[in-house]
């Protein structure tokens, strides 16, 4: 058995495989203010995601997902990075994650903001897998915007 190519290891970083095997915050929980279901039609990956927002604070992101290691690990990292933050700050993290994923490996991620999320920088070099990494994040954005839409106090985040 020869060693894997460097490319493969940049895609499947240890951190990603750890999150895949031991996902954080998995499962659907109450209470929640909005629930969304997102599908990646090309591969069939699916996620049902709930957000519980208290005032400005993201209290919980819970999810039930089927999909590849990249999409599963990404949901786990999402949970780590946005729970406990304000909606505004959570969406700011999302913007950085999104920019990194769209950057074709050219965007240098800020580890202070993205923490374990920087492991996905390697995924950005595999265009076919970018959508896997973004599935849960897009679901999160949709869910918080739905909460914000129903809450006059949160207009500035929309």
């Amino acid at each position: 058995m020869s060693t894997p190519t460097p490319n493969l290891d940049s895609l499947y970083q240890e951190i990603i495989l750890d999150h895949y095997k031991n996902p954080h915050g998995r499962g659907l929980r109450d209470p929640y203010e909005s629930e969304v279901h997102h599908v990646n039609p090309t591969c069939g990956d699916e996620i049902t995601l709930r957000v519980h927002v208290n005032g400005e604070r993201v209290e919980d992101v819970s999810y039930d997902a089927v999909g590849c290691s990249i999409s599963q690990a990404s949901a786990s990292v999402l949970n780590d990075l946005v729970v406990g933050k304000s909606v505004h700050d959570g969406l700011a993290v999302l913007d950085q994650f999104h920019a990194m994923m769209q950057g074709r490996g050219q965007v240098v991620p800020d580890e202070d903001v993205l923490e374990d999320g920087i492991a996905f920088a390697g995924v950005a070099q595999f265009p076919a897998r970018v959508k896997c990494a973004l599935l849960s994040w897009m679901a999160f954005k949709d869910a918080v915007l739905q909460v914000s839409a129903g809450s006059p106090a949160a207009e500035e985040t929309a």
């Binding site: 190519t5 069939g44 999909g67 290691s69 990249i70």
Partner: protein, 413 residues
């Protein structure tokens, strides 16, 4: 391998099979059910058409127009001969098999043959392109959509054949060879029942025409749909074969140039089949290429292609089932089975399997293969699929097996 079948010689006809991937890995192409590779003869035919004969068909009076028309219509003749069509006028060119199936569904509805008091019968193992057009048709017309289930083994469940296909049935549409399970369906049983109650039969032969000898005249179906690119031909061309008397009795599909007899501002009358169903500039170079593809396959002999497919599939079924944690979804015996094998590997998602084996140069498909209901039937979201063709070797199956062992090790599965 069967006597006289020289797979190495056949491989030399396909330039892409010499491709080396990054790291100087040889390409192991096991995704032919998705699209097949093209022999030099097909590439040359398309090249020559564009270099020497390119013009629009059936309307230009000049030399090139006449040559292009001749090339295009010769493509139709070759396809008709390849599938045993009694008449070349029974071969309608579409852009792909999906369009061919949509065409039939649309015109059967428009002709009033499918109405509110009728049933349309399909199966759970269909590709989405043989499900969605019938859902749309039954929604438009108020007809009922019914379907055959799948047995645990991955065969068509015909136990309720007589209850599903009844006097109410207007159309039965089913696949000949499943693109996901690999199952070859007993069309004769279904067609006999359909004919007994006066129902029309549509066959999705997208996976069958490339790998089995086909004789539409003997089959007994009313319509047969397939695509060019899975039978070593180009993309952008599909085929609908239909019984001439039926085609002649059906209204047009799309309106436009080429499909008319005469047009006034008030109304139009329509051309005879097949041109009635071919609005606009058709896939000309593609028809030339498809004709060359039919010639190429005929030269090898479809009996030989089918025999090779059976042998390579039997070899792969045996080799794959020796891998711990690998489960084949579909028939596990090489009986009435085509050259597509879908499987799951415990602990590794199919997309990750495909990525990992790709890093070893092995191209397979992962996902739902446009057959979500068939996956749901087995309680799974997706599978990895390896599919074979006339150029596939046992060494390539060995490379897949080696890559799967590597995948398991990488994921600690």
């Amino acid at each position: 391998m069967s006597t006289g079948y020289d797979v190495e010689r056949i491989r030399k006809d396909f330039p892409i099979l010499e491709r080396r991937l990054s790291g100087d890995l040889p390409l192991v192409y096991l995704d032919s059910a998705n699209t097949s590779q093209k022999p030099q003869a097909v590439i040359d035919a398309i090249d020559e058409h564009y270099r020497w004969h390119n013009a629009n068909v059936a309307r230009a009076m000049h030399v090139l127009g006449s040559e292009a028309t001749e090339g295009f219509e010769l493509g139709r003749t070759k396809v008709a001969e390849f599938i045993g069509a009694p008449s070349r006028d029974e071969v309608v060119f579409t852009k792909n098999a999906s369009e061919a199936l949509n065409l039939v569904a649309r015109v059967l509805g428009d002709s009033g043959r499918v109405g509110a008091d009728t049933d349309v019968v399909i199966t759970e193992m269909e590709h989405h392109s043989n499900i969605v057009p019938w859902q749309q048709l039954t929604e438009r017309t108020g007809a009922s959509l019914r379907w055959f289930g799948i047995t645990d083994e991955g065969r068509l469940d015909l136990s309720n054949l007589d209850e599903l296909i009844t006097e109410r049935t207007a159309v039965v549409s089913l696949t000949w060879v499943s693109n996901m399970l690999g199952t070859i369906n007993p069309l004769d049983v279904v067609i006999a029942r359909a004919k007994a109650v006066g129902a029309l039969v549509v066959v999705d032969a997208s996976q069958a025409v490339p790998q089995l000898p086909v004789d539409v005249a003997a089959l007994g179906a009313d319509f047969v749909a397939f695509t060019g690119h899975k039978m070593v031909g180009p993309t952008g061309i599909g085929v609908l074969w239909g019984r001439y008397d039926l085609l002649a009795d059906l209204p047009p599909f799309l309106g436009g140039g080429e499909m008319i007899e005469t047009v006034t501002m008030q109304r139009s009358t329509f051309a005879k089949p097949p041109h009635r169903f071919e609005a606009g500039t058709p896939p000309i170079a593609q028809a030339v290429g498809l004709g060359a593809a039919a010639d190429y396959l005929t030269g090898i002999g479809m009996d030989n292609v089918a025999a090779h497919e059976r042998e390579i599939t039997a070899y792969a079924l045996g080799a794959l089932q020796e891998i711990d944690g690998l489960t084949i979804v579909g028939p596990r015996e090489p009986i009435d089975r085509g050259g597509a094998i879908s499987f799951t590997l415990e602990g590794v998602h199919p997309h990750d399997v495909a990525q990992l084996v790709d890093s070893r140069g092995v191209a397979v498909r992962a996902g739902h293969h446009c057959a979500k209901p068939a996956h749901q039937r087995f309680g799974i979201q997706s599978t990895t699929r390896a599919s074979f063709y006339l150029y596939t070797t046992t060494e390539e199956i060995d490379a897949l097996v080696e890559a799967l062992h590597f995948t398991k090790k990488y994921f600690g599965a």
